[in-house]
């Protein structure tokens, strides 16, 4: 496909989206809320069907867990945003004279990852519509079918509530046969959409490549960074509880959530107890030889990232790929490692049920190991700690570079909010500047409005009583000027 053709294609989407944005701008809060409710209900109603479609098409994860993700993306997100004011006057403070007015931002392009396809479509659609913005769904090339089906379900529901036409669009009607279609053309299409002048914002969830493309497109973007989530189990922790929660999280959808635990770090004094507990709960500790075999299939040394072949796969499948024998019913593979970095491939982010395992001399060394893990590809994302000592929790948290620090909580479900804590429910987790993002927030509807500030005249008493000519007088000392400036104030 020529660049011109890709541009023409993008133009068709954006002309429709822009018209839709125009109509959207007139809608009242009450009308918007009706649309959002209808879309959430439709997504929720189809949660099982869409989950099964996603697993079948992508070959990743477990359908039961994808159902839960769809529930999070619809019900939990809805509950989080339903009372949020996104239309008209948000606040009016007579004291400061500042009135805040919400304006929609315009057409949004949503980049959807292969690991959480249908849930992310529902989630991004809900938050976009809540803020009165049309959305264009651009699915990962291996998840087109299930994403389009989700988008259609949402669109149909929205139209029933008299939503603006084309408030939800999708970039492809059918899955593409990449045997005959050049994948580069798909990227070119996405690129043309991203850099289209009529596009207002990109919400990019996915791998580093697509997120970087979004940031460099010239269109404002919310992206995500990659994770490499360290979990510290402190000696004050309830060990059996900690292990149970880690397993709930790490095995969830075969570890496809980027906030899932990647490494467990424990102090020497409780190491035996933790190992025993992991074993009791179905964890299998790999021998050095087995680690080498697993490394080979789990990590792509050339590209220096996890291999796509293991993402979202079960323990059995990984064991089979690596050619190792593990007991039936094994929940997770644990790899005891001596270091962090390129010499230890399993210390990197790998989205499947493999955990790196570190034993540290004491708490300080445990924190230092977590810092190393943090800096090894997970800056700004998430970290976790199991402890019952607030001092320890604070010490750990201040040393971590992480947007979310989950305490005594499964990190996958904890980071996306709503289930185990009160952070905003979201499937797009900001990683701050350390992760090359503009925010550490969980991205939600409030990020998709422009806030205007009407600033009424309110005097600055000191300034109005002050002879401003004194500022020009170099012979006066700073103290002298300040004394006069603050006089009787």
């Amino acid at each position: 496909m020529s660049i011109e053709a890709a541009k023409k294609r993008a133009d068709d989407f954006l002309v429709k989206a822009k018209e839709s944005a125009a109509i959207f701008s007139q809608l009242s809060q009450e009308h918007v809320d009706r649309i959002v409710k209808a879309v959430y209900e439709a997504g929720f109603k189809n949660r099982v069907k869409l989950a099964k479609m996603a697993v079948k098409e992508t070959g990743m994860g477990r359908w039961e867990d994808k159902v839960i993700k769809n529930v999070v993306g619809s019900l939990f997100v809805y509950e989080d945003i339903k009372n949020l004011k996104t239309v008209g006057i948000l606040s009016d403070d007579r004291e400061t004279g500042i009135m805040e007015i919400a304006q929609p931002i315009g057409p949004i392009l949503a980049i959807i990852p292969v690991t959480n396809p249908t849930s992310t479509v529902i989630f991004k659609t809900l938050i976009a519509l809540k803020a009165r913005n049309p959305i264009i769904i651009s699915p990962h090339q291996k998840a087109i079918g299930c994403c389009v089906e989700t988008a259609k379900i949402c669109y149909e529901a929205a139209l029933k509530e008299d939503a603006p036409e084309n408030c939800i669009q999708w970039t492809r009607e059918e899955p593409i046969d990449f045997a005959t279609f050049d994948i580069k053309d798909y990227y070119a299409e996405t690129q043309a959409l991203m850099s289209h002048p009529k596009l207002s914002l990109i919400i990019a969830t996915g791998g580093g490549g697509v997120v970087k493309a979004a940031y460099t497109s010239g269109t404002p973007a919310y992206g995500v960074g990659s994770g490499n989530v360290p979990i510290l189990i402190d000696k004050s922790a309830d060990i059996s509880f900690a292990v149970k929660n880690i397993l709930i999280s790490k095995t969830f959808d075969n570890g496809t959530i980027c906030a899932s635990e990647q490494s467990i770090v424990v102090e020497q004094s409780i190491a035996d107890a933790v190992i025993k507990e992991f074993k009791a709960q179905g964890g299998y500790f790999l021998s050095e030889e087995e680690i080498k075999k697993v490394e080979k299939v789990a990590f792509d040394r050339e590209r220096e990232i996890m291999s796509a072949g293991v993402v979202g796969q079960s323990v059995e499948k990984i064991a089979q790929l690596a050619g190792i024998n593990v007991p039936a019913g094994t929940s997770v593979l644990l790899a005891p490692l001596k270091g962090v970095g390129d010499d230890y491939p399993l210390s990197s982010e790998i989205l499947c049920p493999i955990l790196a395992f570190y034993v540290a001399r004491d708490f300080n060394y445990a924190v230092k190991t977590c810092i190393d893990l943090n800096f090894h590809g997970g800056m700004g994302h998430s970290a976790g700690i199991y402890a019952n000592d607030d001092g320890v929790i604070k010490e750990f948290s201040t040393e971590m570079s992480a947007g979310r620090i989950l305490v005594n909580t499964p990190s996958s479900q904890g980071a996306i909010g709503g289930i185990f804590n009160k952070i905003h429910t979201s499937l797009t987790l900001g990683c701050g500047t350390a992760g090359k993002n503009i925010t550490t927030d969980n991205i939600t509807a409030k990020h998709l409005i422009n806030i205007q500030r009407v600033a009424r005249r309110r005097g600055n008493e000191r300034f109005s009583n002050f002879d401003a000519n004194l500022f020009y007088d170099e012979s006066l000392s700073t103290d002298e000027i300040l004394r006069k400036f603050n006089l009787n104030y």
Binding site: N364, V367, I371
Partner: protein
């Protein structure tokens, strides 16, 4: 006294710092350190109990690092907070600050 340096037979010099290594403490320490590590084979900075370092300390580390062969400078007993400073400054790898 902001630093104590001891020489060992095999040409190893251990410099133990204490308290906050702010700019003036670093200046004080620098002379002692440079003198002690002259001709050393191996240099070890012991940072036990140090919870703050000024920019001058990073410079001092680099200076000491350049005095010996690659791999012969190391730091021990670094607190998490100080370790993070070296990580952010991008000096952790160069200065041999891996997992200790």
């Amino acid at each position: 006294m902001s630093v104590e340096c001891s020489k060992y037979e095999s040409g190893v010099v251990v410099c133990t710092f204490s308290n906050r290594m702010d700019t003036s403490k670093c200046l004080e320490a620098e002379e002692d350190v440079m003198k002690a590590i002259d001709g050393a084979e191996k240099i070890i900075f012991n940072l036990d109990g140090i919870d703050y370092i000024a920019s001058s300390f990073l410079r001092l580390c680099n200076k000491a690092f350049d005095k010996v062969k690659a791999g012969n400078f190391s730091m021990i007993n670094v607190t998490p907070a100080v370790k993070r400073v070296f990580k952010i400054a991008g000096l952790a790898e160069r200065l041999n600050l891996s997992l200790n």
